[in-house]
């Protein structure tokens, strides 16, 4: 029971890191960034490249992956979203352009690493066990939980307590007014993408470390879960996304225990569907009137 709870919090932390980035871009730009799972995968492969090719230790690979995916996020915005933004294209166009980038980038990774599951070179990924009472827990997961919570606190401070955060919130509220008030909108958008993608990439590295496994399509299962998390928490609400992520983690682990294996995925989507029907604004969502 305790071990299951531990795993639920672990997977919830990964979902949270992934989903806050997804929700951040949605809340600021109204974009469903379908390339976010690709960023997640790129984070894991950036770490693999740093460790296996450059021979760096894992603790250096983590920040490298964060920065690399953050920069990729800025590039993604310049290629796929900025041209559409300038034209005031509908949100649907952004979904398709991010999908186009995904198609190409996944293939680029496969050209180098193939499409199968791969592992990090033996002994390069930390792994240790801790004993609490009668239970044996994987220590890396505890570290991941701690790091995720710390990062979400940092993100909260960044958004709520800094000048950059104020600019990003102004942009989310009203891009036009933000520009008139002298905010460098493009810079705030670049920062949004850097943070969003950096966190997404970090989630990828951490999951790849925990399972010692990565592949070019590892982000796909998270895409639909991120939708669930956002809808449950309230679209575009960052605290909502975090709460939604842990709820989903708990629910999934519980359904693993009580439901047949085939129905595992049904939990997330059933939950998503029910919330949309019963409470479309989610737990912490506001602005229901003009959106739904």
């Amino acid at each position: 029971m305790f071990e299951q709870l531990y795993n639920a919090i672990f997977i919830g932390s990964i979902y949270a890191l992934f989903a806050v980035g997804f929700a951040l871009v949605f809340s600021v730009l109204d974009i469903l960034n379908l390339a976010h799972p690709t960023v997640f995968m790129l984070g894991a492969f950036a770490a693999l490249f740093a460790i296996a090719t450059l021979g760096l230790p894992w603790w250096l690979a983590v920040p490298i992956a964060f920065v690399a995916t953050g920069l990729f996020g800025i590039l993604l915005d310049r290629i796929a979203f900025a041209p559409l933004r300038r034209r005031g294209a509908p949100p649907l166009s952004a979904m398709i352009s991010s999908l186009a980038v995904t198609l190409a980038v996944v293939r680029v990774v496969e050209l180098r690493y193939g499409g199968d599951f791969i592992t990090f070179p033996a002994g390069t990924v930390p792994s240790f066990l801790i004993h609490v009472g009668g239970a044996t827990l994987e220590g890396v997961r505890l570290a991941i939980i701690g790091l995720s919570i710390a990062l979400m606190l940092v993100l909260t401070y960044l958004v709520r307590g800094t000048a950059l955060g104020r600019e990003i919130r102004a942009l989310a509220e009203n891009p036009r007014a933000a520009r008139i008030l002298g905010i460098d909108v493009e810079r705030a958008i670049a920062a949004t993408f850097f943070i969003s993608s950096g966190l997404g990439g970090l989630a990828g590295v951490l999951l790849a470390f925990a399972y010692n496994s990565l592949d070019s399509r590892m982000g796909l299962p998270l895409e639909l879960r991120a939708f669930t998390v956002m809808v449950v928490g309230g679209m575009g609400s960052l605290p909502g996304a975090v709460i939604g992520a842990y709820l989903l983690g708990l629910g999934e682990v519980a359904s693993l225990v009580y439901l047949p294996a085939e129905l595992r995925d049904a939990f997330a989507f059933g939950l998503l569907f029910l919330v949309l029907i019963a409470r479309p604004q989610g737990l912490l969502g506001q602005r229901p009137a003009d959106r739904i």
Binding site: S93, I96, F227
Partner: protein, 290 residues
């Protein structure tokens, strides 16, 4: 003549898939035309495919009857679903229909009669090319005619402004539901046809990727008229075949082409001829208004 016969024989499966994808693109076009962004059509396609294949296998139902039963089954499911998600708009509707699609997929994965993860194999290849293209011609013609009809204008009005449409006395709820159910019906018909082309089906054929692919056909082809989705489906089904010589780089090219279309042809490939006009409109900042 032999050369033409050879060509047709070699590429008949491709032609069949092009036609089926065009039907699917039209099914999603119908809902988009009425202002609804749905991602549930892959699931309705699955319902059509499984229903028709199972009826043929277990009850020996004649092919046209099995196809029709699949379409009716999907419509019967779409009606209550449409009523439930009626008040959702934009990405909320997209996500809700996507969730519905995933639930259908998981049910198919868990049910013994649908063959669970293995799916169904050995479905007889009953679909002839003319079945597909006759369906496509009829559907395209009907939808083209519908645009100028009362229903077509009501859908366009709802798409542009739902509240305004309601205040003009348009039965918004009924028209939206009609578009949703008809789209489901059409997707299921296409699904039934495709199951009898491809020999085997499994739940993952109808996952998120498929739903998005159908949407790409319609949007990239162009929503302004019926030709758009057909063109989009043709280009994006034929493209992988044409890019076969570059097989390692195929997805990269496809991604680049998709990106170029969505950026430079905002209203779809069908507006290629109007490109200069679009550019002109873009200059004055009115590309999406036109």
């Amino acid at each position: 003549m032999d050369a033409i016969a050879d060509f047709l024989a070699t590429y008949s499966t491709t032609f069949a898939i092009v036609g089926i994808n065009a039907l699917l693109a039209l099914s999603v076009w119908l809902t988009l035309y009425a202002g609804q962004l749905t991602l549930g059509n892959a699931a309705f396609m699955a319902i059509g495919a499984y229903t028709s294949a199972l009826l043929g296998r277990h009850l020996g139902a004649p092919f046209p009857l099995a196809l029709a039963a699949g379409a009716v089954a999907a419509a019967a499911l779409a009606a209550p679903l449409g009523l439930t998600v009626f008040r959702l708009r934009g990405v909320y509707l997209a996500i809700a229909t996507l969730a519905f699609g995933e639930v259908v997929r998981v049910i198919l994965l868990a049910t013994p009669i649908t063959g669970r993860g293995q799916g169904l194999n050995g479905i007889p290849p009953k679909t002839e090319l003319w079945h597909i293209y006759l369906s496509l011609a009829v559907v395209a013609y009907v939808l083209w005619r519908v645009q100028g009809s009362i229903a077509g204008r009501a859908w366009a009005a709802i798409r542009e402004d739902e509240v305004a449409a309601a205040s003009q006395g348009i039965a918004v709820r009924r028209y939206k539901l009609a578009a949703f159910v008809l789209g489901a019906l059409l997707a299921a018909w296409a699904g039934g046809l495709s199951a009898h082309v491809t020999f085997s089906i499994d739940p993952n054929d109808f996952a998120f990727t498929k739903a998005v692919q159908i949407l790409v056909f319609a949007v990239v082809g162009g929503i302004p008229n019926v030709l758009g989705p057909v063109l989009g489906a043709t280009v994006f089904t034929a493209l992988p075949e044409l890019l076969r010589p570059f097989k390692d780089y195929r997805d990269i090219f496809q991604g680049a082409i998709l990106l170029a279309v969505i950026i430079y042809l905002p209203r779809g490939i069908v507006t290629l001829a109007e490109l200069r006009k679009t550019r002109r409109l873009a200059e004055i900042g009115a590309a999406d208004v036109a």
